[in-house]
């Protein structure tokens, strides 16, 4: 098959360059591509953001609705994260319900937001056991050129920061809108960095070619005070040694702080 | 240069068998100068060669093997045969029908139909294509009668025995015809169901006790004992 022939040649070139600490696009091993963030691009959504990471493009929309809480957590609002690998984003995406890659992407981004308590779900409770706000975070991949996880985490974070909720009072168990908006209360700003292992080198922010030849990937999401709130190894039939994981943790601490400044500032 | 086990010891995947200047044989692999088992079985050291006789392994076709298979599909160009291997076997129509064979006029299912059992030889096999079979030689072709017994392929050499001594003994003692497929399928055809049953019992005993010695005698004894027990009823 011609495609696997191409992949072998690419893999060789990429691995050779990496051995001397270089990447095909000239970046350092832990350099991210150019990041562009625009917020508030979809007015009908309560919050939105569009992130371009190199040629990868992700759009996240946040919608807020009301609903009943989960039975076992009656005093908390509901957060749900969904991702769609929209077919126009890549020749390899097909229409249909979310496949395992879309499900994994959504759940990893969800974990970052949920475990860091980025949104304090208790503040979204209107009437315990009866009425809460439901926050829908929908990730829409518009162009796939590698590292969808980090781009999606940044876009989701930027969209949540951008989210405004209408002011309201509760009258007779019902929500009544008042004029004006308040920003969604946030208590943390989770950022993910995704490492790829090619040969025995760890690199950050893979573009598509690198992603297609990587042996495995490791995503680490960290909170604003340097704690880890989510980790996911995936992306291939390779593996990491414990030493590589410890090294990655050190790089992640530094890198997530850097990226957070960029996202929060926008 | 250390060896870590004794001959005929039981090893599991991942067990370190040897380190140093050794060659990795069946069901083992070499990495960084170390030889590890990759299947559960009995380890054996043969000079510089380290191998494992696997307890269970599926059949991998080898050109020259005789196999028994089931026809699972008929196509214009031939048949697809399930030979209990990771890949399906192919039998070309041109192997069976005369040279002037025309797909439109030859009725392939009338020769071999889906569900038929055949005995065939493996003529060609490499990992990039499906195994090619042939029924040209005498003794090959469709199986019309008999009982089929399935064993794990690694036990076939023991069932055949040195220079056919074991299978020869079973044939003599039970009066049955035995056709042995390297892929673990054995066809038994006897004068009576009782004879066939004895042959099946013998095969099962060999399968269970393949690692013991003096097995030919033990099996002979078992068949005779069983036959007497039945006849005295």
């Amino acid at each position: 098959m011609t495609s696997s022939i191409v992949v072998n040649v690419k893999k060789k070139r990429i691995t050779e360059l990496l051995a001397s600490g270089k990447r095909t696009d000239g970046r350092g091993l832990t350099d991210y591509r150019e990041i562009q963030i625009e917020s508030g691009v979809i007015e009908r959504a309560e919050g939105s953001a569009r992130v371009r990471l190199g040629k990868t493009e992700v759009l996240v929309g946040v919608k807020i609705a009301t609903g009943s809480p989960f039975e076992d957590v009656p005093d908390k609002g509901v957060l749900t994260v969904n991702a769609e690998l929209v077919p126009l984003a890549s020749p390899s995406f097909e229409p249909g319900p979310p496949g395992e890659d879309a499900v994994e992407l959504a759940r990893v981004v969800d974990r970052g937001i949920r475990e860091s308590k980025a949104i304090d779900l208790e503040t979204l409770c209107v009437e315990p056991g009866k009425l809460v706000f439901v926050v829908f975070v929908d990730i829409y991949i518009l162009n796939h050129d590698g590292n969808l996880i980090d781009a999606s985490t940044m876009a989701a974070l930027a969209a949540l920061i951008n989210t405004k909720m209408f002011k309201y009072t509760v009258e007779e168990g019902k929500i009544v809108k008042k004029p004006g908006y308040t920003p969604l209360p946030m208590t943390d700003y989770p950022i993910s960095v995704t490492f790829a292992k090619i040969g025995n080198k760890l690199i950050l922010d893979t573009w598509l070619d690198e992603e297609q030849v990587m042996d495995a990937r490791l995503t680490m999401t960290m909170t604003k005070d340097g704690n880890i709130c989510a980790i996911q190894k995936g992306g291939g039939s390779g593996y990491f040694t414990k030493e590589e994981i410890v090294e990655a943790t050190k790089i992640a601490t530094e890198k997530t702080a850097e990226l957070r400044k960029i996202v929060v500032k926008s | 240069m250390p060896l870590f086990y004794e001959k005929k010891q039981l090893v599991a995947p991942g067990d370190l068998l040897a380190e140093g200047d050794y060659v990795s044989g069946d069901s083992t692999y070499k990495e960084n100068g170390k030889i590890y088992a990759c299947r559960l079985g009995l380890v054996d050291y043969d000079g510089k060669r380290v191998h494992v006789v696997a307890l269970k392994a599926f059949y991998i076709p080898v050109p020259g093997d005789t196999v028994i298979g089931k026809v699972v599909e008929t196509m214009p160009s031939g048949w697809v045969i399930d030979i209990k291997a990771p890949h399906l076997g192919r039998l070309r129509a041109s192997d069976v029908v005369e040279r002037s064979f025309k797909p439109e006029t030859t009725d392939l299912p009338s020769i071999f139909d889906v569900g038929d059992l055949i005995i065939a030889n493996v003529v060609e096999y490499d990992r990039t294509r499906d195994p090619q079979l042939s029924v040209r030689e005498p003794g090959l072709g469709k199986i019309m009668r008999g009982q089929l017994v399935e064993v794990t392929p690694t036990k076939i050499p023991r069932i055949i025995g040195r220079q056919g001594s074991m299978v020869g003994m079973i044939k003599r003692e039970t009066g049955c015809q035995l056709t042995i497929g390297q892929n673990g399928l054995i066809l038994i055809s006897g004068r009576s169901p009782e004879d066939e049953r004895l042959a099946v019992m013998a095969i099962r005993k060999i399968e269970k006790e393949s690692h013991t010695s003096g097995l030919t005698d033990k099996v002979t004894e078992m068949i005779r004992k069983e036959r007497n027990a039945v006849e005295s009823k």
Binding site: C229, T241, K250 | P13, A54, K56
Partner: protein
């Protein structure tokens, strides 16, 4: 294969689940809800070759977890388009029986099932010599008959045995164990209540010979130092379970030997 019912939840466990008080997870003497110390694994039992139809199979009990795995293959990949020309593919399905949890779970695959099927497959792939069987697929069906926390790790342990039982060549067994943070302390092998009410959960899968970590996830909150300690605790648990796996595989053969004596 013997399915045995264990004791149901203790009063202390039930209270912790309802009150969600993390303080009751570990008592003043350092004893957890089920009587274990922080570095103790749940009692585990493994059995190989339990399903007559599957090419390979295994059954595992760990605490209240009851896991059954059947493996088929390698065989022709179906549907054709999933086949790879250069190696076998593993099709892995992690599935929970509706009666496996307290509140009946719908048999339809949830998003969690989809994610776990993927990460478990990725944990097993590095162990199998996939390149020996191009254009084939190896099917791994993991059924959680009863769940009590740590089912993905238990599923991996059982699946590795089933693959070995099927005679599929492997570089090493894959062994998995989780560690985490409960009531402020780092513990190993979290049960369900500890996972739900605790502060962090880190499942790890490992191939000891190659020093290879093939599954690593984390949810909760840990400092980088706590995270490193947790990995070490999990790897320690893995080493213990690896010995149980080897024993389970080898003892199947020994029982064949014993049969012959009769």
């Amino acid at each position: 294969m013997q399915l045995k019912a264990n004791k149901k939840k203790t009063k202390r466990e039930r209270e912790t689940m309802t009150n969600k008080k993390t303080e009751t997870l570990i008592d003043k003497k350092g004893i957890r809800l089920d009587g274990r110390k922080v570095d103790e694994l749940r009692p585990v039992k493994m059995e190989v070759g339990v399903l007559p139809n599957a090419d390979g199979s295994a059954y595992l009990e760990q605490g209240r977890n009851k896991i059954l795995v059947g493996v088929y293959g390698p065989k022709e990949a179906h549907p054709r388009h999933i086949a790879r020309q250069d190696r076998a593919v593993i099709q892995c399905r992690y599935h929970m029986a509706p009666f496996s949890v307290d509140e009946r779970k719908s048999p339809a695959p949830s998003r969690r099932d989809v994610e776990l099927s993927k990460v478990i497959r990725e944990a097993l792939e590095p162990a199998v010599f996939l390149e020996y069987y191009p254009r084939t697929s190896i099917q791994v069906y993991i059924e959680i008959l009863q769940a009590d926390g740590g089912t993905r790790c238990a599923g991996i342990n059982t699946a590795a045995l089933a693959l070995a039982d099927a005679g599929i060549p492997m570089r090493d067994l894959v062994v998995a164990c989780a560690a985490g943070k409960v009531d402020g302390k780092l513990v190993v092998d979290l049960m369900d209540t500890e996972d739900k009410v605790g502060e962090a959960d880190v499942p790890v899968a490992f191939m000891p010979n190659l020093n290879a970590i093939t599954l690593l996830q984390m949810d909760g909150k840990l400092s980088p130092e706590e995270f490193e300690t947790a990995i070490n605790m999990a790897l320690d648990g893995c080493k213990q379970l690896y010995a149980v796996q080897k024993e389970a595989l080898k003892s199947k053969y020994v029982s064949v030997e014993e049969d012959k004596e009769e």
